[in-house]
């Protein structure tokens, strides 16, 4: 029977892309280590903590895209959460900032879940609704925080960066803050029934519905989860920078990076395929490619070209692999 397929081969195939992306990240960082005069805990801390916002954003984007949507408002949500938290947390003690942090995450989840609900009832394509919300979120951010400013507690900054001023050499906290959400998201998506129902919804709406999945609920959950991660990204931003910045362009840039990261990480924009684990490595690559290329002595304009070409080449490889697989089938 053709259906009997060896288990190991399958798993490698399914996770091969994630593994490849992590390898690419390792190679790039290895290269970077060779290029710079010193490599130590300062550099490790720098890489981990600074990529947190994009990593979170990419996890959220991955979940939403796997569910069959796309969130063009993710970056704007980051900006909104960043602006709101910086405004609320200023001059507050650590415990209060933590509470505010949870409040922000819940609020972001609720707001984005509401967006998922709107997509359900309006039947307007995700990309359009979230394009609109990207403007709305940015406007709200600017209303809350009219210009850069605000602040947070030192403890809150330590939580994400390991240092009370956001820069330093200890990376334990950042590593924890990187791993915990990744592990949670990965387990949620792969092991829980709800997570599987998100995959199912993105993979085949009809089959999912016929299998008894509540596809509307799945969409709301996907968006709420994505919103929570974007909220967390906003919190990480306030921890790293110690302030809020309501600029529209920051959000737009972050959104594009998150989309690039998940695609590079093997999440198919058609939904149902990919994993958050691959997206995490790709997010770090997308975030750090620019400094790494500059360390290689590449002129920044050329670096821009290299970065774009690299993404295209990687995606071409993905396309050719898929073609070969189809041929071999």
């Amino acid at each position: 029977m053709t259906a009997v397929v060896r288990r190991r081969a399958l798993n490698l195939r399914r996770h091969g892309w994630s593994i490849g992306v992590w390898l690419l990240l390792a190679v790039l960082i290895g290269w970077y280590v060779l290029l710079i005069p010193r490599f130590g805990s300062f550099q490790i801390a720098s890489i981990i903590k600074n990529s947190l916002p994009l990593v979170y954003l990419a996890i959220g984007q991955a979940v939403i895209v796997i569910t069959g949507g796309i969130d063009l408002g993710a970056g704007a949500m980051l900006v909104l959460a960043n602006s709101a938290s910086a405004t609320l947390m200023q001059d507050q003690p650590f415990l209060v900032t933590i509470l505010i942090g949870f409040g922000i995450i819940l609020g972001a989840a609720a707001l984005n879940g509401f967006v998922g609900w709107i997509i359900n009832v309006s039947r307007v394509p995700d990309i359009v609704v979230t394009l609109a919300t990207s403007f709305i979120y940015s406007g709200l951010a600017l209303m809350i925080l009219p210009g850069p400013g605000g602040g947070t507690s030192a403890g809150f900054r330590i939580l994400f960066t390991g240092s009370d001023d956001g820069t330093g050499t200890s990376f334990g906290f950042s590593l924890g803050m990187l791993l915990v959400p990744v592990v949670i998201a990965a387990f949620f998506m792969r092991r829980s029934r709800t997570g599987l129902s998100l995959y199912a919804t993105g993979s085949d709406l009809n089959a999912a519905y016929l299998s008894g999945v509540d596809i509307r609920r799945a969409k709301v959950i996907g968006y709420a989860f994505g919103g929570a991660m974007a909220g967390l990204a906003g919190l990480a931003t306030v921890a790293i920078t110690g302030s809020g910045d309501p600029r529209f362009s920051i959000g737009a840039n972050a959104t594009l990076n998150s989309v690039a990261a998940i695609v590079l990480g093997g999440v198919a924009l058609t939904g149902g395929i990919g994993s958050v684990v691959g997206a995490v490595a790709a997010a770090i690559i997308v975030f750090f490619l620019s400094p790494i290329l500059s360390a290689m002595g590449i002129d920044p304009n050329t670096a821009q070209v290299v970065q774009g070409s690299l993404i295209v080449v990687v995606m071409m490889i993905a396309g050719l692999l898929a073609l070969r697989r189809r041929r071999a089938k």
Partner: protein, 488 residues
Amino acid sequence: MTDALLETKAVAKSYGSVVALRSVDLTVQPGEIHALLGANGAGKSTLVKILSGVIAPDSGTISVNGRSVTMRRPPEALKAGLATVYQDPALVPDLTIAQNLTLTAIDEDAVRSRLTAMGLGRLDFDAQIRDLPLEVLRLLDLARALAHDPQLLLLDEITAALPSDQAEHVFGIMQEWKEKGRSVLFITHRLAEVLSLCDQATILRDGRTVAQVEPRQSGERGLVTPMLGEVAAELEAATSRVISQEAPINLATADLYSGGKVNGISFELRAGEILGIAALEGQGQDRLFELLSGDRRPDRGEVIVNGSPLRARSPYDAIRRGVVLVPSDRVLALLPKRSVRENLAIPLYNRVQRWLGLVGDEDTRTNKAIERLSIDTRAHRQVRRLSGGNQQKVVIGRWLANGFRTLLCFDPTRGIDIHTKRQIYDLLKEVADTGASVLVYTSELPEIPLLCDRVLVIYNGRIVHEQDAANATEEVLLSAAHGLEESA
């Protein structure tokens, strides 16, 4: 008499201006296998979707065990004791089998034992649905439905995609269900199955219940007459056609090999000939059709069209040489959101030279195809709204509108009602009479003598048997298809 297990009264459903169901009455008693019959588009699948909570009826009542029920979502139907195997697979393609089961909260072991009984015991539950062949998915769907231990099992054309050996497993399960005192609602276009298996049959025509009969008493005619109404067809015997040995060879293959699935196939197909291919599932017939239609290149050997080799990079090259394909899966072939007309006309524009402007006789060509196939165009604005049978006609009609020399049909009558089947047989013969060649793979062996002139049986990627179709009995074909008789 006790309460009926299921009773629907005056169920109606419209999609915009298309009326799918006008008034359906259906009564299923406990412990019976009940056939739901009707021509394509009669409304069978629509009724099934209503009974399984996928769509809501516009009006009418449904009661289970005498209690009226409303089912707004599929899980509610399951709770009421109704489990369905839909016409299209309901498994999520990007998840593994195990994940699909987790998703629906179904015990793996229960499914596993069901599958073992169907001869699929070695199925790897970590395999992705996407990688599994259609028949396996159908059986998996069935095993999953059974795991709910339903009172009523609804099977919408489950046997259409199954080769005969696996269909037997399904029949066994239907019997088992009946013996347990449960019931099965069975939809099929294969009347032989109805005659041998079903206790009752409800027949729909144009969305209305027109008859309830006992098939064993009424016989085939008793089923067909109400089903088709005025156009009730003659069930003709095989017509023998004479193919001149001088007729040019339109299509031939020389020792084709491909990926271990096709292992040295050579045959010749002459103008005017209808050549049947019979095989059990997974014997390389799908790969053979891919090679012939230019979708894939052989590892070794050649496809020869009109005497010269076909070195196709894509189906286009084959089409240009007059070799066209009607694939098995309509989903592969249709433009669901476009109109019937556009679906028919698409191949006219596969050449860059014709991109600027429209072909002058596009309308005539498409109208002719619509007429010749009597495609029901009520829902013509979007092909996805047509019933399965009419969709299939559109796929065939496309090539009539375009023109061809050799027609490759992969299971062209899958899921097609008996009347339409006749139409397709006649059409293929007509096409052959005008000098085209037809190669048909069919999963329904009884079709072969009705349709073909000659038949090849393929086993394990090789031709193991060849004979005149007119005398090809099901037994002979089946034993050859099982590889029991090595002859060429």
